[in-house]
Symmetry: C2
Subunit: 206 residues, 2 copies
């Protein structure tokens, strides 16, 4: 077992991987540290240093092969396989997430989609049938899902989170405006563009 990466390195490698996967989708076969760095908003030396600490992945004077570098980074991050996720909420946001290819492109598969509205249960969104929120815990346990996405109204967020945790989910992505209270062994990642906007605006204005 190799040493655990630092937070910074793992975060940047994830960003490089996203850029490489998007590049591949657009038909790009070769890329330089300079090009990666522009999309990732980091220093080009940083990119080369991050990569070269794991091996010599590029060719001097040429750059990196996109396909090969994707495989190498997936190896470092142990992210080559497919991971099941549970999505709660089949409203506008949930439907947009279900229909997007963002998750598939990175090896994530939406294994189940839930909603509490009887009018939505049984309908389909993307390729998925909407299931009753009352079955979240049981279904997650059956499917062995450890990743959950919350795309519900704020008032339902804590309840949905509790059910996911009941079902064995350990990592939550929270798209709502609600602060969640959860056990210590569960990690919550909040998706809130306003937070990043504040930060972006600060650097733009100073």
């Amino acid at each position: 077992m190799s040493d655990k990466l630092t937070l910074g390195v793992a975060a940047r490698l994830s960003t490089y991987l996203r850029i490489l996967i998007q590049s591949r989708k657009q038909g790009i076969e070769s890329i330089s540290s300079q090009e990666i760095s522009e999309h990732a908003n980091v220093n080009p030396t940083q990119v080369r240093r991050d990569l070269s600490s794991f091996g010599k992945f590029g060719k001097r004077g040429v750059g990196y092969r996109v396909e090969y570098l994707i495989a190498q980074i997936q190896d470092i991050l142990h992210s080559g396989g497919t991971h099941n996720i549970a999505l709660v909420g089949a409203g506008h946001l949930g439907s947009a997430i279900a229909a997007s290819s963002i998750f598939q492109d990175h090896g994530f598969r939406i294994a189940a989609l839930f909603d509490s509205d009887p009018a939505r249960i049984g309908q389909t969104a993307g390729d998925l049938a909407v299931e009753d929120s009352a079955t979240i815990a049981a279904r997650c346990r059956d499917l062995g899902v450890i990743l959950g996405v919350l795309a519900v109204p704020p008032a339902s967020a804590q309840g949905a989170a509790d059910q996911l945790v009941d079902g064995g989910v350990k990592i939550l992505f929270n798209y709502t405006e609600t602060l969640l209270s959860l056990p210590d062994d569960v990690t919550v990642h909040t998706i809130n563009p306003a937070e990043e906007m504040l930060y972006a605006l600060y650097f733009h204005l100073t």
Copy 2:
């Protein structure tokens, strides 16, 4: 003019501010560095150090007043006012964004919503009328918008981005799976939960 914050400090202050604003919304009036740190996934000493470098905002043995701390951080980040944003795309994702209070809570106001589908133009989403995408550049210039959000299909992303930049937009939030090519003075922030999932999963599995 005070010194510019480092990237790390500005990013963390933005996170603290989000947590404080969400706490206030839930009626919480006082909060400790320990509680902030749990929601922000950082060390409690880090929180106190980040704050205390700008002043003595807390009370020993008690904690921080939520309302007061919000005002202080907004002061540091120059983010107290209202900022107009342009949203492109009135599909599921755009509608979800328009209907959410995430932006309003942080002082962002969606000043205009655009779509290229004739069937959607003139309809309303949230409180907004959907305007024709052909008018993006002109409307953004009129409104003085510098912040744009892309919630369009991947194939339309580059075109919509170009029009926003034409209209004077300097900061773009890209919800699509498309890598954008833009002038150097424009900053792109990509919202891609899959990237953060890879990273979260790595730390969960190791």
